[in-house]
Symmetry: C2
Subunit: 263 residues, 2 copies
């Protein structure tokens, strides 16, 4: 891969696996933007978050190699894909990491469960500008018309401009007709949660089991600066994300109160 | 469980599973603090991060029920354990969630891979004050002497004081002799990463595979306000954590520049 260093190297990954429609759309949409290195799970890995495989071996398979497009499948998680790509597949540091296009929203609280955004965050942790793209519809045959159009527009704008070097963007597309899209909004992550509902069933051997389902609950319905508001109002939402879990406000309270725990 | 509402209800979980020494230590240490509801994976689930099980059924088994101690195992991830506990096992909202004691550190960047801290964050998302405890040693027979002593001290102090209601603490214990512990320090998450190294092997069927290993790289060796510094200097480290991935600094740059993407 070292011969074509004039072209940007784009690392593409996802969590829906090699057969996902969203991946095909992404590869087609980004074919003109550089050399594509695709490393994706060999099966669906939705909701795997930032999981990594430490107690099992990981298998890699190169399934395509042609000019500007190399595709590997990996038996591990989305984050395993990124780690292997950066450490074993290419010596050249990718110029961008693009994750998706995910079948299903990764706005607000969903980011923490998402394999798509975990892959993007892993890129970010490794100093690679990273973008995760997601559509709200999680069906296998989701419509990617809006995503295809705007992911290119956003990538061009981001890559051509002198932006903060190390960024990670969580981009979600509204569920509407293309002509209804009102624009692109930079947002913050809404405070929300999934109210879980487990369906209890009994298997043929009389053993009970559960299926996870859930309802989305937004605690900030009317906050216009949030990703949920943007999506509900037919904007493409972009949340710049980072990775620091420190609760600085709470830390300050502990420190201000000179709160000490004696030993 | 509704009869004993005068006692605090503590939800205990972990990611090392039902047979982990760290869990036994935790149950013994916290037995005096209230009614314990233990819901843990039926096998090791380290490095599962915030993964949830959506494409498979989840099995729950009640394996112990005596006064003040009920134990369930769950076939899913640490976050599945928390979701099931809150939604199916108890109608009473736990007063605290305690996760651990983890075999292996969850300081700095490790928090994002950690099942232990994911469980604690899931409690926090559900408005339950949550604490994750971890020791640096990840061996099955790790020494929990310091953890046992200080987890009780910290819990007492935190539960007795008028602290911010919804807190989540990432507590890590230094790897030293008990007499060397210098105190407890409130810290922030250090900027660090794991420099991955994959060991490549060939299986008996001549197929190549990889094992993930890694070396820890701290970008802020000398920052005294970080968790890594605290641990290295024999302090117990407490990082108050939160869950908002928004990069407010970057968001401000986009907004200040009136950065628009035309459509």
């Amino acid at each position: 891969m070292s011969k074509k260093e004039n072209k940007p190297l784009l690392l593409l990954t996802n969590d829906d696996g090699i057969n996902a429609k969203g991946l095909k759309v992404l590869i087609e949409a980004f074919a003109g933007f550089g050399e594509l290195l695709v490393v994706v799970p060999d099966k669906g890995q939705s909701a795997m978050s930032h999981a990594i495989t430490i107690n099992q071996p990981i298998f890699l398979n190169k399934i395509k190699e042609k000019e500007n497009l190399t595709i590997y499948t990996c038996s591990g998680t989305p984050v395993d894909c990124v780690k292997l790509a950066l450490n074993k597949i290419t010596k050249r540091k990718p110029d961008f990491l693009i994750s998706g296009i995910n079948h299903g929203t990764n706005s607000s609280v969903s980011i923490i469960y998402s394999g798509t955004m975990a892959a993007a965050l892993e890129g970010y942790i490794n100093d690679i500008p990273s973008i995760g793209f997601s559509v709200i519809d999680h069906s296998p045959d989701a419509n990617f018309e809006i995503a295809e159009k705007y992911s290119k527009i956003i990538f061009k704008k981001i890559s051509e401009n002198n932006l903060p070097k190390n960024i990670c963007l969580n981009v979600n597309f509204p569920n509407t007709k293309p002509e209804n899209v009102r624009g692109i909004k930079f947002s913050r992550q809404a405070r929300a949660k999934w109210v879980e509902e487990f369906e209890k069933r009994t298997n043929p051997h009389n053993k009970e089991y559960y299926w996870l389902t859930g309802k989305f609950q937004n605690f900030e319905e009317n906050a216009e600066d949030t990703d949920e508001w943007a999506l509900k109002n037919n904007y493409v939402s972009i949340v710049p994300v980072q990775f620091d879990f420190t609760a600085y406000d709470t830390l300050k309270i502990f420190k201000d109160k000179n709160y000490e725990i004696e030993i």
